[in-house]
């Protein structure tokens, strides 16, 4: 058995030690993954102030359920699953639904996206803020399930195989769900996709 899978940030031995209750090993696992997980959470919940709280919730759940992990090979999909669940819980609590119509967003989106490439550095943070607000508004108009699935696939760049491992759903079903989620997003901003 290899010490770790390509792309994994820690080796299997460390995960096994953490599973056996080694606090130092658990600390190392958290330190290795926290930036990636916090980044994912930031994109899933779009509330910068609450990202660390949700991240701590993820690692708290990890600590108390690590002994249920069958094999270290599935550690990453499993950690993503915990992240997705924590994000769901957070979003359900927040229930923040933006009701505004987004028919006029398309032009704004293009302008913002085009401007991203060659902007001056002093305008960069303002534009990033605009992008965040625009996408948050778009994703806020669909369900939490659609939002999280689209974020994982389109923003985080997870492959369908990785999503299969997280959602325990086959590839075709995922494709259908992704397609429908995109359609709902497009519809919500006044686009028909035609």
């Amino acid at each position: 058995m290899p010490a770790k899978i390509d792309g994994m940030l820690v080796d299997f031995e460390l995960i096994k030690r953490a599973q056996q209750g080694d606090g130092a090993a658990f600390n190392e696992v958290v330190l290795a993954y926290r930036k990636r997980i916090l980044g994912t959470i930031a994109r899933l919940i779009a509330r910068p102030d609450d990202v660390e709280d949700v991240g701590q919730e993820v690692f708290l759940r990890l600590y108390f359920s690590l002994d249920q992990l069958r094999s270290p090979e599935v550690f990453e999909p499993w950690l993503y699953r915990l992240t997705v669940n924590a994000a769901y819980d957070y979003l359900r609590k927040q229930r923040r639904r933006q009701e505004s119509r987004m028919a006029d967003l398309s032009e704004q989106q293009v302008m913002v996206a085009d401007a991203m490439a060659g902007s001056k550095s002093d305008q960069e943070s303002r534009r990033r803020q605009q992008v965040r607000e625009t996408v948050d508004q778009l994703l806020g108009s669909v369900s939490e399930e659609d939002r999280i699935l689209l974020t994982l696939k389109e923003v985080e760049g997870l492959s369908l195989k990785e999503l299969e491992a997280i959602y325990h759903v086959n590839e075709n079903a995922l494709k259908v769900r992704l397609f429908r989620a995109r359609q709902r997003v497009l519809k919500s901003c006044g686009e028909t996709g035609k």
Binding site: G7, N27, V30, L31, R34, K35, R36, L38, G39, A42, R43, A46, P48, V51, E52, G55, Q56, F59, L60, Y63, F64, E76, Y80, S106, Q109, V110, V112, A113, M116, R127, R128, Q129, V131, R132, T134, V135, L138, L150, K153, E154, V155, E156, G157, L158, S159, L160, E162, R182, V185, L186, E191, T192, G193, K194
Partner: protein, 133 residues
């Protein structure tokens, strides 16, 4: 995990292309801030808090189980104690039957004696009763 930042399938419609561009821009725009120095201490505080709550619950549950076991033991002893002195059933059936037979015989003998006395001295008891009055 981040092997592909691009959508897996090309999408030709302008709406889809705009959406893909926007999602890519969003990925860059949402780069996480620096993790605060309190992240790990707060995480361990939360872990210890949950552990202590779980420990308290276990301790309460264990106390409850111990108290229930002790109560069951006491009730068992209380219900068992009367069986230690079963006066009425110290003898066998045959002995009890014999004893009853003896008692019946003795009673009938005393009744016969009284009857005989009454026959021999029929006024004795009446006189005694009259004297009391």
């Amino acid at each position: 995990m981040n092997e592909s930042m691009m959508p897996s399938e090309p999408r030709s419609s302008p709406g889809n292309e705009r959406l893909d561009t926007l999602f890519r821009a969003y990925h860059v725009a949402c780069e996480p801030r620096e993790v605060s120095v309190n992240f790990m201490p707060e995480l361990w505080q939360k872990i210890e808090k949950v552990q202590s709550a779980t420990f308290s619950f276990r301790r309460i549950a264990r106390s409850f189980v111990t108290a229930a076991a002790a109560l069951s033991l006491v009730l068992a002893i209380v219900s068992f104690v009367p069986l230690q002195h079963p006066h009425a059933y110290n003898v066998t059936y045959v002995e009890a039957l014999a004893a009853q037979n003896d008692a019946v015989t003795a009673h009938s003998l005393s009744d016969s004696a009284e009857y005989v006395t009454d026959l021999i001295h029929p006024d004795t008891q009446d006189d005694a009763a009259a004297g009391e009055i």
